[in-house]
């Protein structure tokens, strides 16, 4: 398209485009739309398959496209505002065309104004930095490269490699080369049918998202470990996004141009949130108390005022507890905030509890996910949530049977158990297995692999000190050797324990029980140190949170008893429960880790108790003062009366 005749008499907002421009823009628009719609068939620009039914391009592809134009983010912001997308909340054809013209104007050095597009402009140029997707935009004849390599894949190993052929699935090479040389995308890409290209486009676009930002950072953080688990899922933007967040890098407003999009919860995200909810509160229909939620959300590293505001928004009934839809809304707001979205003034309609309850049935953990994914794909188009990663992931999922090749970063999928299960097929055995287990384990805890890197980041936030590649068991907060030792056994234990929290764990996942279970899995798990360590620590925390009050008490005892006592009951329980063969050996490790965990839990509890007691103390002292004053007053009165009575 670039080669096409430069913009003829481009005009302003009235969208009088030259033929070349018209053609180029409509194709770009169609791509964006198609990508959003999951590449379902080609269509004219207006035939947006967006679930909403309006001809609008999804935020993800469009954002990717804009980013490919290599304009500074601020300029893109301005463009977005000018073209009206912010106003209307989506990119319709009009907005899209205006935006493209503005991009062309900006690239030509003109100021970003409506007037700029009234003059003749060359076609906007979209560079391919690392992604094929970008190149796609750049070349009119560009091919929808099926292989999009995500150079930035740092942690995730989501080198997203698109197959040349018409594969819709992007196969991601497990190797993530940060800033991998831009795939020879142009040559690779063949012109594929729009429908086909859309899916790829989406993927590439998603990839593009993180590329500019991600590539810069090694992304070795814990996310990587968690991400890696999922294996070959093409690293969806979300994954990369998540990573970026975990890196605490704010992705430039990927979706900031789309005011409405970020406030929709995609299916994958929903699953993730629900998993997290379960980790805190096994019963999905009951509440998470305020303190539990506070601790949980504090891990996201957002500031307290922001968290306070998010709570205000999400706790609709102001009861100090979060139900599942409220929790999802809060989580989503946190994720969005970490992604760089400003917090809304009021709870968006898509996050209202009623809407959430109606829109999302209970999460399906099992293979039904595929179905949900396909439909979520459609819905995802609207929800460019977090860079439309969900879409990609969803799409990927749908196309999953095809992919085969390397499923690299399956961050999102990792969330869904089914996804992960499905993935293993495509994922190479070695990476897949640990990843699956990790993802499975991680699921309840920190979903790094899950759809949103933010969440992973958040979960990662649980153990800030933890080194990204968690060594086998060395607990993240490895401040003391003891802790490491203590944790070691317990960490894997926890992880395994977390694995089946919903299905397998007895009424309450006992600290000992998970450990017991994990005992058996210890040996294999120990091998998978990195992800597990990371997971286990967050898992442990989550487990601890989800434990009922009785558990905390139990845990308290542990630290008191230190190694032996806790070990004994746990081992005793573990004996029958897990019947681990390696009990003696792992038991020791487990005990140390259990102790460590117990100690930490106890420390936490004690701190909380301290705070409460301090408050209570101050109040009581106040009362004491008042009582003293009363007493003094009474004594005075007595003094005054005494002379009378005595006499």
């Amino acid at each position: 398209m670039e080669a096409a005749a430069g913009g003829g008499c481009g005009s302003g907002p009235s969208l009088l485009l030259s033929d070349g421009e018209q053609q180029c823009y409509s194709e770009l628009f169609a791509r964006c739309v198609g990508a959003a719609s999951g590449g379902q068939g080609p269509g004219p620009a207006e035939a947006a398959r967006v679930a909403s039914g309006t001809a609008s391009a999804a935020a993800g592809p469009v954002a990717d496209l804009f980013r490919a134009s290599q304009l500074p983010a601020e300029t893109l912001h301005q463009i977005t505002e000018l073209c009206g997308a912010k106003r209307v909340g989506y990119f319709g054809p009009t907005q899209f065309y205006v935006a493209l013209k503005l991009i062309a104007a900006a690239q030509s050095g003109l100021p970003v104004r409506i007037e700029s597009i009234k003059c003749e402009l060359p076609l906007p140029r979209f560079m391919m930095s690392k992604n094929d997707g970008e190149m796609r935009f750049g070349n009119p004849a560009e091919l929808h490269g099926s292989k999009v390599q995500i150079p930035y894949l740092t942690t995730e190993k989501n080198s997203f490699k698109r197959m040349d052929d018409e594969e819709k699935q992007e196969t991601q090479s497990p190797t993530m080369s940060p800033l991998a040389s831009p795939p020879s995308s142009p040559p690779h890409y063949q012109r594929v049918p729009l429908s086909h290209g859309y899916s790829k486009l989406r993927s590439s676009m998603e990839q593009m998202h993180p590329v500019p930002y991600e590539g810069r950072q090694p992304l070795v953080q814990p996310e990587g470990t968690s991400f890696g688990v999922s294996g070959a899922k093409p690293l969806r933007h979300q994954a990369s996004l998540i990573r970026s967040f975990s890196v605490e890098r704010e992705l430039q407003d990927n979706n900031s141009n789309y005011p409405d999009e970020p406030w929709r919860i995609t299916e994958e995200q929903r699953e993730y949130y629900i998993n997290q909810f379960r980790s805190l509160q096994p019963d999905p229909s009951s509440f998470i108390s305020g303190s539990v939620a506070k601790n949980f959300f504090t891990k996201s590293k957002l500031s307290i005022p922001e968290l306070s505001y998010i709570w205000e928004l999400s706790d609709a009934d102001c009861d100090g507890a979060l139900t599942l839809p409220e929790f999802c809304a809060a989580f989503h707001l946190i994720v969005a905030r970490k992604n760089g979205y400003p917090l809304p003034e009021g709870l968006p309609p898509t996050l209202q509890p009623e809407y959430l309850q109606a829109a999302f049935p209970k999460p399906k953990w099992e293979c039904a996910l595929f179905d949900s994914y396909s439909e979520s794909m459609l819905t995802n188009q609207q929800a460019c949530d977090l860079n439309g990663m969900e879409k990609t992931s969803v799409k990927d999922m749908a196309d999953f049977p095809a992919p085969t090749q390397d499923v690299t970063g399956d961050d999102k999928q990792a969330l869904k158990s089914t996804l992960t299960e499905a993935l293993p097929k495509d994922v190479p055995e070695d990476p897949a297995t640990p990843k699956d287990s990790n993802s499975l384990k991680a699921r309840p805890r920190s979903r790094s692999y899950s759809s949103t890197s933010i969440e992973e980041a958040m979960k990662r936030g649980e153990d800030p000190p933890t080194p990204p590649p968690r060594p086998q068991k060395t607990h993240s907060r490895a401040s003391s050797l003891d802790l490491n030792k203590v944790f070691q056994p317990s960490v894997p234990a926890t992880k395994s324990g977390l694995l089946p929290p919903p299905p397998a764990l007895p009424p309450r996942p006992c600290p000992s029980q998970p450990e017991q279970v994990s005992e058996a899995e210890l040996p294999p798990q120990l091998n998978r140190a990195p992800s597990q360590a990371a997971e286990s620590s967050p898992a442990k925390k989550d487990v601890s949170y989800s434990q009922p009050p009785s558990k905390p008490i139990r845990r308290k005892f542990r630290p008191e008893n230190q190694s032996t006592e806790s070990q004994e009951p746990s081992t005793a329980v573990g004996g029958p429960a897990s019947g681990a063969t390696v009990k003696p050996h792992p038991t020791v490790q487990k005990q140390s880790s259990k102790q460590k965990k117990a100690i930490q839990t106890a420390i936490r509890k004690n701190k909380e108790a301290n705070a409460v007691l301090a408050r209570l103390n101050s109040e009581l002292q106040q009362q004491l003062k008042e009582v003293h004053q009363e007493r003094i007053a009474l004594e005075n009165q007595l003094e005054q009366l005494r002379p009378v009575t005595v006499l």
């Binding site: 205000e312 706790d315 100090g320 009363e630």
Partner: protein, 139 residues
């Protein structure tokens, strides 16, 4: 119309104070501060033994020629002080009571937020909006 609304903690430091900006805010702050004495007096007068029956709404604390100051205290000794313009004679006692009730409800909502530590300044946007609406609408 409330020209100034203040929430005072039990230790008599302000948790939240807001006045209509057109006036000299310092004057209102001073009025609120001096009204605290009256509040304490009323509280003690109500009886230490009758805490349960103590009325939360304290009524008119003291009038000045331009303004009237109303008080309200919660069971946890958090005080709400409201300064209203005397020229607004249409304001009746019931209306003031309802305003205080709204304040109290909003304050309770703020308290329910686990991220809010009692004793912190109130920075809730929801609370702000509610106070703004009271200051504008009641006017």
């Amino acid at each position: 119309m409330a020209v100034c609304i203040a929430v005072i903690a039990k230790e008599n430091y302000p948790l939240y104070i807001r006045s209509t900006p057109m006036e000299n805010e310092l004057k209102f702050h001073y009025m609120v501060h001096t009204s605290l004495d009256v509040v304490d007096e009323k509280i003690s007068a109500m009886g230490k033994a009758l805490v349960d029956q103590r009325e939360l709404y304290l009524g008119l604390l003291y009038p000045t020629e331009d303004y009237k100051v109303y008080g309200y205290v919660t069971n946890s000794k958090v005080k709400f002080v409201m300064v209203v313009d005397s020229s607004n004679t249409a304001l009746r006692d019931n209306e003031i009571r309802s305003m205080f009730r709204k304040l109290h409800n909003s304050y309770t909502d703020v308290m329910c937020n686990p991220f809010y530590n009692p004793g912190d300044r109130i920075q809730s946007r929801v609370f702000d909006n509610m106070v703004t609406s009271m200051m504008i609408q009641v006017c």
